[in-house]
Symmetry: C2
Subunit: 137 residues, 2 copies
């Protein structure tokens, strides 16, 4: 299933329309790996010709999140970022410039979620590594 199929199927299943605004927001998130903010998405998709208002971008992000096509990334105070990679995964964040890099860190292996303290049922986990990127050494 490719990404175009994803949105077709997921949206149709819930009886939701695939509008140019929603499609452009999703396509934008699929095309980039920098976990953009609302503002960044808005600017990017309206670069050539205006396609979506700010309210529509917020609305599209909400809907896409509800159907499970995208997710939020919360790593910096007051900054909500979005990501079309929905599976749990690890992140590196540069403490100087704020750059965020996805980590595919097999070193970590699978953690034994059944060894959590009593009363907690873990379903998934993510690691956040803080440090400096190559530009900020």
């Amino acid at each position: 299933m490719n990404n175009s199929d994803s949105i077709q199927q997921q949206m149709k299943e819930k009886g939701l329309r695939i509008t140019p605004q929603r499609y452009s927001v999703y396509a934008n998130l699929l095309s980039r790996y920098d976990h953009p903010t609302v503002e960044a998405i808005l600017q990017d998709i309206n670069q050539e010709i205006p396609i979506a208002s700010k309210a529509s971008v917020y609305s599209a992000l909400t809907v896409l999140r509800e159907v499970g096509l995208i997710r939020e990334i919360l790593l910096q105070e007051g900054i909500t970022r979005y990501d079309a990679k929905i599976e749990p995964h690890h992140h590196f964040i540069c403490q100087d410039c704020g750059a965020i890099v996805d980590l595919d860190w097999s070193v970590l292996g699978d953690l034994p979620l059944n060894q959590l303290p009593k009363g907690l049922r873990g379903e998934n986990y993510e690691l956040t590594v803080k440090g400096k990127c190559e530009h900020c050494f």
Copy 2:
């Protein structure tokens, strides 16, 4: 060094005053383990008699964070929580009720930060486990 010494020393070092407002905010964070929001701190410290305004709580939190006595915990959209436990540590968050529990998970051991992708210098890391707490099974 006890916690009272902490604030005395850290604040004095930077030439900052320990006011009743600042002290009550810090003491409140030291006394609880639920990673409260600004609103929760405000209500708690003003329960008996009014001691601090909202602006002063924000101000105190900013100062305490700058001197390194407290830190932010960002796990939920639009909700900034605070913690007097400043060392990197792991968290469990209940996907239903939002409860946050500190994890002292020795199972994890020490991750080899020197095996990060080229160009990234990791300094510390934290794990976030999502799932359900005992009340939300």
